[in-house]
Symmetry: C2
Subunit: 338 residues, 2 copies
DNA sequence: TTGAAAGCGGTACCAA
DNA sequence: TTGGTACCGCTTTCAA
């Protein structure tokens, strides 16, 4: 039912090729013909079938994005940043949520490869690099975001997690905290980087974490508030309880604050708390939460730019790893000196 | 570089057609041939080019979703629900964020039509129905979600907004509130429905809103907390201030709570507050916010099912409008009777 | 059971 | 400046 080049050509008594050339602004068409064709295209509201074009040009002008959880604001922001750049270049974006499931992620990768996306962006939940090999076989460029894979030479864009840890910890030090604890995350690159940054910041001032001041929440990212609460309770039970806590992420920080309040203590006077992620609700809390912003939108934009560059250059590039600088957002939960 | 039917056919000395038939499980192929073909497909990790298939079958097995803001948890949830159903049927989903911009939305619609999606799902920010006519011209089925257009006979799935308003208001009444105010939203179907439900619930008990008890926040959905705060301040300045407030959405409710705290009053003892949307942070607040859940995931799933049905049946269907029942989530902000 | 030919809606190349 | 022809990767139809 949609209008085709052929229809326009027939109506005007010209060849399909001529119409196709007008469509793509070729210069070797007379002004008169061009005008007639354009007019007819308008009248019929013609839209080229991009799938057909993709078949012959070998470019689908399509990319795929696979994230563990679309509802997580970090990934949603990345998706927005990515698509805002791609849209301007005429690209459309397939988006899929892997629900933190390796198998599903694998399936989605296959599906997108079958759709012949020009590039793939993945915030992976994999433990092995096998799926990435599959992508490489197909010669399709891909960019990993958020989580890095040690030992995999792939394009990567994410926040500099060591800087995240350092920044948060230094801020607590600057606010006069002397005993800073860390509620850490699971064994993935983001959590490990933040832990390293935390240690580094202390070391720079000749300090080191007190015994028991590095605790791990039971779970990783989700229902982080529960695990944050538990972890904080452990810290409160210590003989030397901390006066500042750097939390792996914001949900964990909220849980930690709950535990502090439950113990009848105050934030930030007794214990200062800082999280990571700068989630949209941080500002709305009774004690607004200081946090490290992960520049999710910027990550999306930079990823788009890199992916586009990879698609343009047919020669395979040496993989690039790009770290975005985090930034601190200071709110009430750490402001001890007015 | 990807493997094609032709490659497999050549390797095995059979025709392309034969391979194609094996691929689609046709029965008129000998077991022996089938086995040989399947084996080779495995070895080469063959994936059919779905774009090419789409060109000849006229089905892309692709749908489009356009929402005003992907970062908003409601739309992110809808997207998840939608894609979880579609994935099982082998469909992929283009997702675009219109950033609350009519023009962008229009562009995205055009883009997706050009990609020949099998169906389109839109949470529209349009004021006119022109873009929908464009879709109808192309004979592509579409489903509107969230916001309805009076006078447009289109498929629609959303929460029953009148029920939302009724439910919230009745809950406040049941908690013993006698003077219930409403901070309403802009002139769109969702806000109007909730207002109507609020009025209806009061009327059922022989009540009507006191003068000045229906206020409108300055802005609509975004930065709702600012407008909620302002609106609440107006309510607090009244001679007869309310003892319960039903807010258009959760950000507005947070703003309202801030204003109440600033005035030195308590929630829910002095004023009970209920929002709408059941956003993920509601539970994490100092005074957890009661809210009406909009069943976003269910909306996504039902939309997917409807869209699939529309695609299956070639005969154009009479548009269906489907209302999902909201549900109330009671938390601390309204619990006045223990 | 197998495959040759035509065609889906476009683009590339080269000759007229 | 214009258009004939071939072809992108796959499916459909029909004859062998």
């Amino acid at each position: 039912m949609p209008v085709r080049l052929k229809d326009i050509a027939r109506d005007l008594g010209v060849s399909v090729v001529t119409v196709s050339k007008v469509l793509r602004n070729h210069t070797d068409i007379s002004e008169e013909t061009r005008a007639r064709v354009l007019k007819r295209m308008q009248e019929l509201n013609y839209r080229p079938n991009l799938a057909a074009r993709a078949l012959v040009t070998g470019r689908s002008c399509t990319m795929g994005l696979i994230v563990p959880d679309l509802v997580h604001p970090f990934f949603a922001e990345v998706a927005k940043g990515l698509s805002s750049v791609l849209r301007k270049k005429g690209y459309s974006l397939f988006i899929a949520s892997s629900e933190e499931d390796h198998e599903l992620e694998q399936q989605e990768i296959d599906q997108m490869l079958a759709r012949r996306v020009d590039a793939l962006v993945i915030a992976s939940t994999q433990w092995t690099v096998e799926s990435f090999r599959r992508i490489e076989e197909q010669q399709i460029p891909y960019v990993l975001i958020d989580r890095q894979f040690p030992g995999l030479a792939a394009n990567f864009i994410g926040v500099d997690d060591i800087a995240v840890g350092r920044m948060a910890t230094e801020h607590l030090l600057d606010q006069g905290c002397a005993h800073i604890a860390h509620i850490r995350g699971p064994e993935v690159s983001t959590a490990l980087g933040r832990l390293e940054g935390y240690r580094g910041a202390l070391a720079r001032r000749g300090l080191s974490p007190a015994p028991g001041h590095i605790v791990m929440g039971r779970t990783g990212d989700d229902s982080g508030d529960v695990s944050g609460r538990e972890a904080m309770q452990k810290l409160l039970a210590l003989k030397h309880r901390p006066d500042g806590v750097f939390c792996y992420n914001d949900p964990v920080a909220l849980g930690a604050m709950k535990a502090i309040f439950d113990a009848g203590l105050r934030v930030p006077e007794d214990i200062a708390v800082i999280g990571c992620g700068n989630l949209n609700y941080d500002e709305l809390l009774r004690v607004p939460l200081s946090s490290i912003d992960q520049q999710s939108h910027a990550i999306g934009e930079k990823t788009a730019t890199l992916a586009l560059a990879l698609v343009e250059s047919k020669a395979p590039q040496r993989p690039r790893s790009l770290m975005v600088e985090p930034s601190i957002v200071v709110r009430g939960s750490t402001q001890r000196r007015a």
